[in-house]
């Protein structure tokens, strides 16, 4: 286990510019950290840049500019300098970091339709190259209530079941950070709460840090250790700027 003081993710002075035809979107993140085992919630209205931030943390989107960007390496060694990796276009190293340290839950699950549930779950462990006991898959699946779906194809599952399977897949290979982008957006409120509860409980038990994106404040507020939110300014007709900051405790 890495030292508690070394953050899982450490971001400083991040700027991401996304432009589409005329309109330009600028995301500014002055400071962002995720400590090991910590629950971080990112909330904000639609279009404020939550998914953008999460994809940057997930190492699939290159920051336009960043002062420091560190991600704890899986082997407990010194944290990987992601900013440098992006600068040198070390895509292979980023991919290695992704499969070693990260788990990702997409809004729509992101299961591969051509693999059955079990193979979907096992895939993350397989490509990480770690041995995976069948019991672990079964127990995780049982905890999330999808143990009966293991041999089924993803398309035959309900949206909620898919999300639960996605959560199992994101956790099964023992990553140290799980990223979830509105994992419950497609299900009703009650079910969303249940899924969220399960994920949190599991993350705690596995001592995995979680960064969850949601526009549903109620769903994440009381569970999160830290909450980040955005303030958006429409600077001009074309340019909009979004600033991401930790939510002051007095606002909670």
């Amino acid at each position: 286990m890495a030292d508690k003081s070394t953050p899982m993710v450490y971001l400083e002075g991040l700027v991401k510019t996304r432009s589409q035809s005329e309109s330009v979107f600028e995301l500014h993140v002055p400071h962002f950290t995720v400590a090991p085992g910590q629950m971080v919630a990112i909330i904000g209205e639609s279009g404020c840049g939550k998914s953008t931030l999460l994809d940057i943390i997930a190492l699939v989107m290159a920051p336009t500019r960043v002062d420091r960007f560190l991600v704890a390496a899986g082997n407990g060694g010194p944290p990987a300098d992601v900013a440098a990796h992006w600068a040198t276009d070390a895509e292979g190293l980023l991919a290695a970091l992704r499969r070693d340290s990260l788990g990702y839950v997409l809004q729509t699950g992101g299961l591969l339709p051509f693999l059955n549930v079990r193979r979907n779950i096992c895939l993350s462990a397989r490509i990480k190259g770690v041995a995976l006991a069948a019991e672990r898959v079964e127990s995780l699946a049982r905890r999330l209530g999808v143990v009966d779906c293991l041999e089924r194809m993803p398309l035959s599952l309900s949206i909620g079941q898919r999300q639960r399977v996605a959560i199992v897949r994101a956790l099964v290979h023992r990553p140290r950070l799980v990223l979830a982008d509105e994992p419950t957006a497609a299900v009703d409120k009650g079910r969303a709460r249940a899924i969220m509860d399960d994920m949190y409980a599991l993350a705690r038990d596995e001592s995995v840090a979680v960064v969850v994106v949601s526009h549903d404040v109620d769903l994440v507020m009381d569970r999160a250790d830290t909450v980040y939110t955005f303030t958006t300014d429409q600077l001009s007709e074309q340019l909009s700027r979004s600033l991401c900051r930790p939510l002051a405790d007095n606002n909670r």
Binding site: S51, D55, A58, V60, M61, A73, G74, N75, A80, E91, G92, L93, L94, A95, A96, L97, R98, R99, D100, L102, Y104, L106, Q107, T108, G110, L111, L112, P113, F114, L115, R119, L123, S124, R126, I127, K128, G129, V130, D181
Partner: protein, 617 residues
């Protein structure tokens, strides 16, 4: 950073799962590839099958090794000896005039005879040996299928053959019983033919010409040439009464008797008869005078003092470039005394052909003879006499004569006169003069291998012998092979483009369709270079499946084709037979093409930005 095991090794399984998941699409693709590959296999198979079949037939069927003369022409025994010594010659046997080379075969059912070709054969005859036959020895024959079917006589049975000739207006026939030792395969030819040793063929020819074949019990003349003359001069001390004269030409074979003046006698015989002698010319206009006619007249004149001297008119020989018109005289002591001329060293005419030594003599006119004989040490003069065929022989000088023309035995002139109507041969060490047989007028020649055919063909042509050979057939197969290869390459090129295009399009489409999934794979930790192999693996798998399906399709099609042509094919032959050594080449190039075809899709796959696609539905 852990690089325990590269995630790349999971790509093939994922790619396969994807193909399996979209199995309808994959199946269609495999079928499409098979539909390109199978015809190529079939085409290649057809090309090799037909060429192979044609070549094998060429190699197998001796007919393609045969070299046939286009015209009948006389070939000497030496020529045959020389030809058999050529390394390219596989087999050669002389043949005779086609018209003489026929035989009547008694049909089994009707008892009637039918005329079949009689073809000479000899040990090593490929036409027989390679068509289920064996080479017959004397007393045996081999039949073609047609001959056996028509005559109703099979292997082990007896074939009754008849040879017919008409002799002096009478029909004569000789018969032989021959054992059939083999019936040839249909391939050896569709005509009714009888293959027999050359000796039988020669005997048949001789019999037809009137000669005997004693070994077969066939009656006929001996091959000694008969004597023929233009007429005979009868010299008597006193004239014959008219009635006796007429009597001489009745039933003697002579047609006419005419009085001769002394000058006329000298023109015919070279000397003037004694004073007061009567001279008559006995002859038959338009016909030669034979020994029997002379004998008949001689009989009628018995008791009279006379000399009956046959003559040959206008016979020329050449010696050392000079044309000579010799006199034919054979005078015995009695005649010499009667006619007051010298006796000839070879004796008188007695109706027989003398021995060679006696026959080949000459008395040279004193002046001319010296000139001729001095050229040779042994006092021998080479002489050629033209006739049906030219004969050359050497004359011994027996002395000189006071006559102006060389004097030769009249029997020699009788032989040479016969030679003007019938071919005669002269063999110095053998039986002297003989009636020429029909002679070798052709040959049956087989080259050792098909590759020797052009060599032999050209050698014979350079000898001025016009021959036919299947040189063109070998050439044709070569041309066909080239044409088919070109056709195959052309179609292969088309197929190559088609198959590759199908693969390019579908692999690219699959990548486009599966953008999100590829993005998810990237998100899960696959690098760009890993997903690069996803379409490539799919391309290779589809190619392998397409190749297998193509092979299956080929097997079925080839089976159908070979079945359809089964009737034209011998056992072991196939019109459609792909040489398996081409399979690795085929497989390898298919895989290479599959890899090339997947490159665009692979490149597209690496360019997918996960952040862009993972939120797509």
């Amino acid at each position: 950073m852990s690089e325990r095991t590269s995630p790349i090794r999971h790509i093939p399984a994922l790619a396969a799962s994807h193909l399996l998941h979209e199995w309808v699409m994959s199946l269609c693709l495999v079928v499409a590839l098979a539909a390109v590959i199978a015809p190529l296999f079939v085409l290649l198979g057809l090309k090799y099958g037909t060429i192979q079949t044609l070549r094998e037939r060429l190699v197998e069927d001796p007919i393609f090794r045969e070299i046939r003369p286009t015209q009948t022409q006389v070939f000497s025994s030496q020529w045959f000896a020389e030809l058999s010594s050529w390394p390219e010659t596989g087999f050669i046997t002389p043949t005779i005039l086609p018209l003489s080379s026929v035989i009547n075969v008694v049909q089994n059912d009707s008892g009637k005879t039918k005329l079949y070709d009689l073809v000479p054969t000899a040990p090593g005859d490929p036409l027989l040996l390679e068509n289920d036959g064996i080479v017959p020895v004397d007393g045996e024959v081999v039949l073609t299928t047609e001959a056996a079917l028509e005559s109703g006589i099979g292997v082990g049975e007896e074939l009754i053959v008849r040879v017919t000739r008409s002799q002096d207006g009478r029909k004569e026939a000789a018969e032989s019983r021959l054992r059939v030792v083999a019936v040839l395969d249909q391939r050896a030819g569709s005509l009714a033919r009888v293959y027999a040793p050359l000796s039988l063929v020669l005997d048949v020819e001789a019999y037809k010409e009137g000669y005997a074949a004693p070994a077969r019990g066939w009656a006929g003349a001996t091959p000694e040439p008969y004597l023929s003359f233009d007429g005979a001069v009868l010299l008597l001390p006193e004239p014959l009464p008219a009635i006796t004269r007429t009597g001489l030409i009745i039933n003697s074979g002579f047609g006419r008797i005419a009085e001769l003046s002394a000058i006329q006698v000298r023109a015919l015989l070279g000397f003037l008869p004694p004073q007061d002698f009567a001279a008559y010319d006995l002859f038959t206009p338009g016909s030669p005078v034979t020994i029997s006619s002379l004998r008949a007249v001689d009989q009628k004149l018995r008791g009279r003092t006379r000399a009956l001297l046959p003559y040959v008119r206008d016979l020329k020989v050449t010696a050392a470039g000079n044309t000579l018109q010799p006199l034919g005289l054979s005078i015995n002591a009695e005649q010499a005394q009667l006619l007051k001329i010298p006796e000839t060293p070879w004796g008188g005419y007695n109706g027989n052909l003398p021995e060679c030594d006696r026959l080949l003599q000459a008395l040279w006119p004193s002046a001319k003879g010296r000139a001729l004989t001095e050229q040779t040490e042994h006092r021998e003069v080479e002489v050629q006499a033209a006739g049906v065929g030219e004969v050359a022989f050497a004359l011994h000088s027996a002395g000189t004569t006071s006559f102006e023309r060389p004097v030769l035995p009249v029997e020699l002139l009788g032989v040479l006169r016969t030679g003007k109507q019938r071919a005669i041969t002269f063999e110095p060490d053998g039986q002297c003069f003989a009636m020429a047989r029909g002679g070798y007028r052709g040959f049956r020649l087989y080259a050792r291998s098909i590759d020797d055919v052009p060599v032999l063909y050209n050698k014979l042509r350079s000898q001025g012998i016009d021959v036919l050979a299947e040189v063109a057939a070998i050439e044709r197969i070569h041309t066909l092979d080239q044409g088919l290869t070109r056709l195959f390459l052309l179609i292969a090129l088309l197929g190559l483009f088609g198959g590759t295009a199908v693969l390019v399009a579908s692999l690219y489409a699959a990548v486009e369709r599966r953008r999100r999934d590829l993005g998810v794979l990237r998100l899960l930790g696959f690098a760009r270079r890993h997903v690069f192999f996803f379409p490539m693996a799919q391309g290779l798998m589809l190619a392998v499946l397409g190749l297998l399906a193509g092979l299956g399709g080929y097997a079925v099609l080839a089976g159908v084709i070979n079945q359809a042509f089964a009737k034209e094919l011998a056992v072991g032959e196939a019109f459609c037979a792909m040489p398996w050594r081409y399979l690795p080449v085929f497989g390898f190039s298919t895989l290479i093409l599959a890899v090339l075809a997947s490159l665009t899709a692979a490149w597209r796959a690496t360019n997918i930005d996960p952040a862009e696609v993972i939120r797509e539905q």
